[in-house]
Symmetry: C2
Subunit: 577 residues, 2 copies
């Protein structure tokens, strides 16, 4: 019953040389985290579903891997089925009640089919009044407690019910031309088929999984960290600088460079509103990338307050997201298309004219800040954003960076749903075609979701998979990183092997990676193995060497061979260490 | 809507000091893995269910965490429900067909109730013939393809069906005394209640979860490693020495010291049958525990061939597991109770007399091997086991151990389901009350389950959580392990902070863990923070120091304070590094 083994889509095995290269990056990052005073924590791979769900939006919820409860999930399945049946009967009843109303409306069926506006208005009108719907929901809710619970709450019940009812009503009206007895049949069929699938959709989006799963794999490190801070608030000395390097899981459609399991690597400071933290995080990026020999990375810097200020001064405060989403594309599509998109997204021509200066903003960071300061002089929030960035830029100018560059980028608009101050993004050195290799920002209310208010946080993350690809592409991994063995002793037989093992024991105690070929097979085969393993030195203790109490060392690169005294291998140890 | 956060039962958060201590153990182990020529691999956290299920026995299967498929699991639920209904109707039909047969048997109902043997024989007889059962299974299988699939295969269908049918037949017979119309009702009820729950059990144990889950979290590192070796066999240079340190997950009932997520730490060699591997693994244990200062661990050594040989010479080959399970308790319950248990488990008095010498076996490893050699002289397998152990013991004697002890322990019987040669187990130093802190052995057919035959493996693992507890109990973690900061600069205001940050930048570049208190709050509060963080040196750059271009360093232990030149901090750096 042998199976041909495989691994799940979007996951990876890491072979020795990959692990070693990944660890090189991990270790470098960790070393700098530590010198910057960050401390490591680790959280469990899975959290209670409550902790994770609802924190990443609907899309995020869908991408969270849920863990099937162990034990009796079949009784839970029964409950889903029973509740679904109940919901179907609820839908049927609403339609029964709607029928006479629709008949009384005297609807123009042809117009309904051809004219989308007429159709939509009519449907909205029918649904939006909600009276019928409301009555039935109330009746059902009274009859069955779990009904409301099943749909989370009455509001959601309305939403889902009205969404699917819209479809039925449309069919009801369209089928007016069909003979009445056929229509009934048709509706019945609709209810049994389409309706059910719609209802199932509704259930799905309403977290049916909560019936089957109480735990889920973590989706990122930020929410578990917030949970950690709240749970351990009495043990933590604030400001708390923590780093965390652990895998996360996302049920994303696997594609090139996107995985279902991947490591995140975050450093955050909580409990300090000082802008010195932002300064240090810029230095931290610079130190890590310099140490990785990844010179010339560009640390882009923006501030949510500046974006909000711009939206304010152009009179589009309510369109902040639309405005920034369009602005974010400046690099890719150019100013004309950005303006068009802003128009499409509802910004006035007047407003767009006011942001015109942003499209051509250039010069040093200071010069750009001057332009922004002028543009934002009437916005308190915007002015604050400018002064925050000025502090960061000035302090970094004072301290200097080793190899990275810090640039104001007013188009940078990542994480606007949570960032409240500085926003960072790191671009790979010029010439490497890859997205950002790091990012972060300040979020004023990290732990509020778990009930601990007024804890400001600021953090950055390193995109490990992409950093790996960049280092690989630029050939910047240390030359000897792949060396898994310093020496290999060949095996000439039992007695010789014992002498070899004694030497190897000594070498290993000195931290030298040494191994003995385990079997006395043909020497040629053993050399081939040494070659494949990329071993720089091969040690030979054959009959002759054993007699002379010596060992021969062959340099695999040069082919040179030299003999040493077996009783004092120090000379060789010094050579190799 | 703030939630009071918690984490799932059986999982843990690790705080900075715990992570640091755990990493101290991990890093020590890894360092020795590397000098012994082992290479790291990593495998995904979840595997395809097929890869894991059926590898750990029924109990193991139950403890595997299954991941809920994303997407449309509701249609799968419908299928479960429909298949269950189908199965219920199948059961009903079998019972209908059985009724006349039972009537014709003229069963003595009283005897049936009182006499267990009579009852069991009768039930077995009814079921074992299987004709009726077989016919119905065939008919149903023809009618509905998914029916057989649902129960995995026909064999399992028989098994489950006959198991639950036994119950119905019993009820059928017992209720003969009940009026016929009542009996019908009774059976109906049984089918609806008991039967359903039995059927649900059947479904559960038959991997109903496969309808909802295609992926599962790994349960150990051995099966994923076997899968890795088979999948990557063409890239691997054998013998392949790999280590792997990753978390595994088990849905065990959480209890003290047992977790649902914990790290395993394995080193294995595959593709070499040489006993030198066993020798090296003993040395590896010795090196790691010596380096961890955990001196005096006892590496217990046995060989499955010896246990099999003993079972053979005492004529209890078929009772190998029973014999070894009893022998394994010698330490805990003493020879008399072991003998009693052996008797209970079906060993003859004669056989037990023959193993008598084992109960008092003592002396050096060599002396014990002599006793065993004599006892096993008539068993080829046993003799081979003795000679294997003799090679390991002799070679280790030649090479010497640093701090561990190697002892033959013929009662050691772990992993007999898979180990085929040497068996290892490591006991903590005397005086520490804890189970084994490591174990391993040789398994001749590691990769056979995935279709790659004749690949022998031998490996050991380190019980990290227990090693942590032992080191903690013996107070053997390095004194300074908890030091997360070397120096903290106090913050006397904006200008002073900038000077401090410049000094800190220099210190960090030298690898010193340095930090600046982020806000210019009361100095007392800052000292308190330094105290809590256990910082050995506090740096003071106040107004005066800034004026003099100097910095003061306060030794937090001695209270001494010394002033250094800010323009050349090398003297201080030398002190602190």
């Amino acid at each position: 019953m042998a199976q041909k083994p495989s691994i799940p889509k979007g996951t990876r095995d890491f072979s020795p040389s990959e692990v070693v290269k990944r660890n090189y990056i991990f270790d470098t990052v960790k070393r700098h985290f530590k010198t910057f005073g960050f401390q490591p924590i680790e959280t469990p791979s899975f959290e209670n579903s409550d902790t994770l769900l609802g924190k990443y939006g609907d899309e995020g919820d869908r991408l969270i891997f849920k863990i099937l409860d162990s034990g009796d999930y079949l009784s839970k399945i029964k409950r889903i089925v029973s509740d679904t049946d109940f919901f179907v009967s609820f839908q049927k009843e609403v339609i029964e009640k709607l029928k006479p109303k629709i008949d009384s409306l005297n609807i123009d069926v042809d117009k309904f089919s051809d004219n989308a506006e007429y159709r939509n208005n009519l449907l909205d009108d029918l649904i939006s009044k909600k009276e019928i719907l409301k009555n039935v929901v109330d009746v059902y809710a009274k009859e069955k407690n779990s009904f409301v619970d099943f749909l989370n709450d009455k509001e959601t019940a309305f939403f889902i019910a009205s969404k699917s009812l819209k479809l039925y009503i449309e069919i009801l009206i369209r089928t007016k031309s069909i003979a009445f007895h056929k229509m009934d049949l048709f509706i019945e069929q609709i209810i049994n088929e389409k309706a059910k699938s719609q209802i199932y959709d509704g259930i799905k989006s309403n977290k049916a999984s909560k019936y089957l799963s109480e735990k889920a794999l973590r989706y990122d490190l930020t929410v578990p960290f917030a949970r950690y801070v709240v749970m351990h608030q009495n043990e933590i000395d604030f400001p708390f600088k923590r780093y965390q390097i652990q895998p996360v899981w996302r049920a994303d459609r696997p594609q090139k460079g996107r995985f279902r399991e991947f490591y995140q690597c975050d450093a955050d400071v909580v409990g300090s509103t000082s802008l010195l933290q932002e300064v240090e995080l810029v230095q931290l990026y610079d130190s890590v990338f310099t140490d990785l020999k990844l010179e010339g990375v560009n640390i882009k810097l923006n501030n949510r307050k500046i974006l909000a200020g711009i939206a304010e001064v152009i009179g589009a405060k309510h369109l902040l997201i639309d405005f920034t989403v369009a602005l974010d594309k400046l690099d890719k599509i150019g100013p004309e298309k950005v303006k068009q998109e802003m128009l499409n997204r509802g910004l006035s021509k007047d407003a767009i004219a006011k942001v015109e200066p942003l499209f051509s903003i250039s010069g040093t960071n200071s010069e750009q800040l001057n332009v922004l300061e002028n543009l934002l002089k009437d916005s308190e929030e915007g002015t604050k954003g400018v002064s925050e960035l000025r502090f960061i830029v000035d302090t970094i100018n004072e301290l200097g960076l080793q190899s990275a560059q810090l640039s104001i980028d007013v188009t940078l608009a990542r994480g606007l749903n949570y960032y409240t101050g500085a926003i960072f993004e790191v671009a790979a050195p010029k010439g490497v075609q890859i997205g950002s290799i790091g990012g972060g920002g300040r979020y004023d209310d990290l732990t509020g979701i778990f009930g601990l208010k007024d804890v400001s946080g600021v953090g950055i993350s390193f995109g490990l998979d992409r950093i790996y690809l960049v280092i690989e592409e630029l050939n910047l991994f240390p030359q000897t990183i792949d060396k898994s063995l310093d020496v290999l002793c060949l095996n000439y037989g039992e007695k010789e092997a014992l002498a070899s093992l004694r030497l190897i024991t000594t070498l290993r105690k000195c931290g030298i990676k040494a191994d003995l070929y385990p079997a006395g097979t043909k020497i040629q085969k053993q050399f081939k193995y040494a070659d494949k393993r990329n071993v720089p030195y091969v040690i030979i203790i054959g009959e002759e060497e054993l007699k002379n109490n010596s060992f021969a060392v062959k340099n695999m690169k040069s082919g040179e061979q030299k003999t040493y005294d077996l009783t004092s291998p120090d000379e060789f140890i010094d050579l190799i260490k």
